[in-house]
């Protein structure tokens, strides 16, 4: 395995230590635990903090998104493993003096179980914490069963929009309702082109033939719509957007925020070509775009591929989306 690290067991700790040293103006370790990263300058005590726990190996999400206008804390699990509920609880406790706490949970088995455990334990300690389960990946469950879908790159819209909203002293329920509103207006579909190498096993994470791609594969190689031959950006984008537009009513005159997320080794050159084809496709349907996000944000090591997410917006969402954030690795 050609990866640069020291001791395999310390990959996550070394990475966090580098991150906190590099961006000490904005982030720091929590006092109690070095797997909890918080803002250097805490959020006002009257505002509702936003937290998430997630496995490592997908950087910059979510550890890179801590900062004003975005997350307040990230509870960092081992590589590809959600942090335990105990650890998430420790994160929630840091903010027990706030009027409420919102725990974001991306819909994956481990994340949900541990997140729910943390919320239950918090309740027992009279901490006002609620969770929002995020899902958007249309390949992982059919229409009508949206809540069984996995959390994909489109969950980014939720982080950013309620991250901005939470700076405006809104109460927990407003954040929850805006969060689920954003979620319900988001659709994501991904394509895997080549597998990255797991730092744990030193092996490829999944197998895929040299001329094949995989539509709808999850971040760890879980399947979706199945394999296809490699095709042009234009055809691939058409295929993917057709599925997305079939799944949800993106209509003439709508203003959508597109997010093209690279999985790791797919170049920005390619992502921009893909974006060009997205714009062309949407303009044929008279769907307008607003401040797209195009880069590597949710990666699976050095995997090749990308996802397309669309959020159908209203004016408030757009304002919150473009609200500045100080997070070291989130940039519109």
């Amino acid at each position: 395995m050609k990866k640069i690290f020291n001791n395999k067991a310390n990959i996550v700790n070394d990475m966090l230590s580098g991150y906190v040293k590099a961006h000490s103006d904005r982030v720091k370790f929590s006092e109690s635990n070095q797997r909890i990263i918080i803002r250097s300058k805490n959020k006002n005590i009257n505002k509702v903090p936003l937290l998430i726990g997630n496995g490592s190996g997908h950087e910059p999400i979510a550890v890179g998104w801590i900062g004003e206008g975005l997350l307040d804390a990230n509870i960092v699990g081992d590589i590809f493993a959600a942090p335990s509920g105990d650890l998430i609880l420790e994160g929630l406790k840091i903010f027990s003096d706030h009027p409420g706490i919102l725990l974001l949970i991306s819909n994956h088995s481990g994340d949900v179980m541990n997140g729910e455990m943390a919320i239950e334990l918090a309740e027992e300690e009279n901490i006002n914490a609620k969770s929002l389960i995020m899902y958007d990946d249309i390949a992982s469950a059919p229409k009508g069963k949206e809540s069984e879908r996995r959390g994909g790159a489109g969950t980014t819209f939720i982080y950013k929009i309620i991250g901005a909203l939470s700076e405006q002293s809104n109460d927990l329920d407003s954040l929850l309702s805006m969060g689920s509103y954003v979620r319900d207006n988001t659709r994501t579909l991904s394509v895997a082109i080549s597998s990255g190498v797991s730092p744990l096993s030193g092996e490829k994470i999944f197998e895929i033939a040299h001329d094949e791609i995989f539509i709808g594969m999850g971040v760890h190689g879980e399947s979706g719509y199945g394999r296809q031959k490699l095709d042009s950006s234009e055809n691939l984008v058409s295929f993917m957007l057709e599925k997305i537009l079939d799944d949800y009513s993106f209509n003439k005159g709508d203003i959508v925020i597109p997010f093209v997320n690279g999985s790791g080794s797919t170049t920005l050159m390619e992502l921009l070509i893909v974006y060009n084809d997205i714009e062309k496709y949407l303009s044929r349907y008279n769907i307008k775009t607003y401040k797209p996000l195009i880069n590597e944000y949710i990666t699976t090591q050095d995997s090749g591929g990308f996802s397309i997410s669309l959020l159908k917006t209203n004016e408030e969402m757009r304002k919150l989306w473009s609200h500045p954030s100080s997070a070291p690795y989130f940039h519109l």
């Binding site: 081992d78 590809f80 493993a81 335990s84 509920g85 088995s109 541990n114 760890h220």
Partner: protein
């Protein structure tokens, strides 16, 4: 009793140390390829934490062990597999019944994992043993061992309804569930050690 618990955990750790790569390989086919590494990490932390836990109360001792494993493992398996370890604290004497412990483990896994028998998971190892013991006051160690192995093998033909494997094209059919296999190893070490100590 705590010496028994410690021996069992130690033996499980040694066993998993030998087999974690196989478990990773199975999880590579069904999930993200880390199940062996994960359970190994959990047991390693458990073994290393013995000396720092008060050893007078088995319930307390195993709760701490369970928490240590849950934190060290994380993921889907940490929270689910640690349940049995917490419950086992209730085994106050070597010859006390394990039925309640298995029953509570099963109830809690079902609830937390939102999982049923046949969904291709660790549950598919616990439930057959519980059923067997419920119907057999006495048991032969060899029968238990065989039952556990059989239960694991049956997961091979199951379609996954939970965990990452449920998103596979194949639903995981044709591959043994890694969580079931590691659970079986830990359970076998449990019954083996119990048998040893009874025979002393």
């Amino acid at each position: 009793m705590i010496n028994f618990h410690k021996k069992w955990i130690k033996n499980s750790y040694v066993k998993i140390k030998d087999e974690y790569q196989l478990l990773d390989k199975l999880d590579q086919e069904l999930g993200d390829g880390d199940h062996g590494t994960t359970i190994f990490r959990g047991l390693e932390h458990a073994v290393n934490s013995f000396s720092s836990i008060d050893q007078n109360d088995p319930i307390h001792f195993m709760k701490e062990i369970s928490k240590t494993m849950r934190i060290a493992m994380g993921g889907a398996s940490g929270i689910l597999m640690s349940i049995f370890f917490a419950e086992i604290g209730n085994l106050q004497k070597l010859n006390s019944s394990i039925l309640d412990i298995l029953n509570n483990t099963i109830i809690k896994i079902k609830k937390r994992g939102n999982v049923k028998v046949g969904d291709k998971s660790i549950l598919d190892v616990y439930v057959p043993i519980f059923n067997y013991l419920e119907n057999n006051n006495q048991y032969q160690i060899d029968n238990i061992m065989k039952l556990i192995d059989d239960s694991v093998n049956k997961t091979k033909i199951m379609e996954a309804k939970v965990g990452r494997a449920k998103f596979l094209e194949t639903k995981g059919v044709g591959v043994i569930d890694p969580g079931a296999l590691s659970t079986s190893m830990i359970l076998k070490e449990f019954f083996k050690e119990r048998n040893n100590e009874e025979n002393i």
